[in-house]
């Protein structure tokens, strides 16, 4: 995703000289093509994220289009008040790009895990939150959000994601993307979990159940009517995210369901409300947090059986 982001940004920056890329001293071996081509518009702000966000707001107030990059906790939480006051309150065209969604930086430890970002940024008026599932969605969302002059947060995994789409799929901000159709239940996932859920769906299919899968790449704003349209007829709905069970995708969908006529079963699957104390790679940690594909499939099957 990081590569798709930077390649798309370079394309845009070729045509738009107002695009700036700011980093908090991260992006080694990723940003060199940008910095070589546009040295004046590449600013390494150093390990000083509060200032970086303020500088981005100052650039936006001067007609520039800054993209501000770092690992998620540092580019969202360290400088949260700058995002709130300088960017969102003033409603400026600043794009925040965070890398390392959920457990992507697995073995680096919980300081580098990103399990609260959606929850806190969702509370900010004017903010658009984008959480692509693969490099294709990343590219499309970078292109589409470039057209919108608004504070935006792009939540990226890291690298090595599978491509889930064919070339001509239409990705629109605010519109849920349907990756599989099915009648036995609905899974709404976001970010890297979409890819995992395709495998979960395959497991379920082997057991004779067909599930619909939505990639909800736009987590704010969520069009209530769009969601209600997609859930129509389903008795069983799951959300799957690599984020704290509080405040993220599951919470957002629960808010919509609670205020609707939905009378079926609903379950949020995500990271339990705790910091991961195990050490290991992403896949290894997921096993401890209930996010391995086998465990997700089992939880869905258990719920399904209760319904029958």
């Amino acid at each position: 995703m990081r590569k798709a982001f930077i390649e798309t940004l370079i394309e845009l920056a070729e045509k738009d000289e107002n695009i700036y890329l700011l980093t908090g001293d991260l992006g080694f071996s990723v940003f060199e093509p940008f910095s070589r081509r546009f040295p004046k518009r590449f600013i390494n702000c150093g390990a000083a994220e509060q200032n970086m966000m303020g500088v981005a707001a100052g650039l936006a107030l001067s007609g520039k289009k800054p993209y501000v990059y770092s690992i998620i906790p540092f580019v969202t939480m360290r400088c949260f008040e700058q995002i709130r006051n300088d960017v969102c309150y003033q409603n400026l065209d600043v794009k925040i790009v965070g890398v390392g969604s959920g457990l992507a930086y697995g073995s680096l430890g919980a300081t580098h895990h990103a399990i609260e970002d959606i929850g806190i940024l969702r509370t900010l008026p004017n903010m658009i939150i984008l959480s692509p599932a693969d490099p294709f969605e990343t590219r499309e969302l970078v292109l589409k959000s470039y057209q919108i002059k608004s504070p935006t947060y792009l939540r990226l995994n890291k690298s090595g994601e599978k491509i889930l789409y064919g070339l001509h799929q239409n990705i629109e901000i605010g519109k849920p993307s349907i990756l599989r159709e099915g009648k036995d239940g609905l899974i709404i996932a976001t970010g890297i979990m979409v890819s995992l859920c395709l495998e979960v769906i395959e497991e379920l299919r082997k057991r004779g159940y067909n599930f619909k899968l939505i990639s909800l790449h736009t987590l704010k704003p969520i069009e209530k009517e769009e969601i209600l349209k997609e859930i129509e007829g389903f008795q069983l709905i799951f959300t799957v995210e690599e984020h704290n069970i509080f405040g993220g995708l599951g919470s957002a969908i629960a808010e919509i369901l609670a205020e609707s006529n939905f009378r079926g079963r609903f379950e949020r699957i995500g990271i339990p409300d705790k910091y991961c104390s195990e050490v290991g790679e992403t896949d290894y940690l997921r096993q401890f947090l209930g996010l391995a594909k086998e465990e997700i499939a089992q939880r869905i099957l258990d719920k399904l059986k209760k319904l029958i």
Binding site: K40, R41, C45, G58, L61, K64, Q82
Partner: protein, 250 residues
């Protein structure tokens, strides 16, 4: 404004209003008829709690009608207690939380440099504000990028909300700190118009460096019973005090 609305920060406004007066009437290249002119100088009130002083100065300079001042902090008024971007013409940024303005100014200064524009960015901070770490992040950034079109001004009245700055969190040696961060620093009497004008007319102080003017000021300046008094930060005047204050300011 502040008497009618029973709001705080009178002392903070009185300590910086002379600086604002010199900036808006002698230094800034601005046009009240065209407040968004591309090449205008930018003034950022980073100590957003001095908003009443900024609004009053802007009104006197002709950015908007003085009648609007009556709505300061009043229900349905246009002027919130911390300066808010475009609440009236001339207010460049929204501030209120300390330690934000210098970074905003640095971003503007960087854009101006890259675009080869001549305009300058003035950022007025309070002394207590220099306790915020983000100020020093911005200070590093501005000197690193040689932003000599950025001018920081510190309203150094030596009093913050709960006490003297040297007792709450000592800032001294303040001049040396800024110099060591790569800024060119001068000091001025923040209530002496000639001194302020003379120093702010020669910008940058040094080519290739951001400039910092430390203005020694008196909190509550001009109202004898508020001068250098801690309570001037929060105190609301009663009618008798208000009349005495007005008389003293005449």
């Amino acid at each position: 404004m502040m008497y009618e609305s029973r709001t705080a920060h009178l002392g903070s406004c009185l300590s910086c209003v002379d600086i604002l007066t010199i900036l808006y009437f002698k230094i800034l290249s601005i046009d009240p008829k065209n407040p968004a002119a591309e090449n205008r100088d930018r003034f950022l009130l980073s100590k957003g709690h001095g908003a009443a002083a900024l609004y009053a100065t802007l009104a006197q300079r002709g950015f908007f009608s003085e009648k609007i001042l009556d709505g300061y902090c009043q229900n349905g008024g246009m002027l919130p207690g911390h300066s808010t971007r475009n609440c009236v013409p001339g207010v460049e940024v929204s501030t209120g939380s300390l330690g934000h303005g210098l970074s905003l100014g640095a971003g503007m200064a960087l854009a101006a440099k890259n675009d080869k524009k001549e305009y300058r960015i003035f950022v007025l901070m309070s002394d207590g504000e220099c306790e915020e770490g983000s100020v020093w992040e911005a200070a590093l950034f501005a000197s690193h990028h040689k932003l000599d079109n950025l001018i920081g001004i510190i309203d150094y009245n030596k009093l913050q909300a709960l006490g003297w700055t040297n007792e709450v969190l000592n800032l001294e040696p303040l001049t040396k700190k800024w110099e060591s961060f790569g800024w060119s620093v001068k000091e001025a009497d923040g209530h002496n118009f000639l001194d302020l004008e003379e120093k702010l007319s020669r910008i940058p102080f040094e080519k290739g460096k951001p400039s910092l003017l430390i203005c020694h000021t008196i909190k509550g300046k001009g109202v004898s019973f508020l001068e250098n008094k801690l309570e001037s930060h929060y105190k609301n005047l009663n009618f008798e005090e208000y009349q005495r204050a007005l008389k003293g300011l005449e």
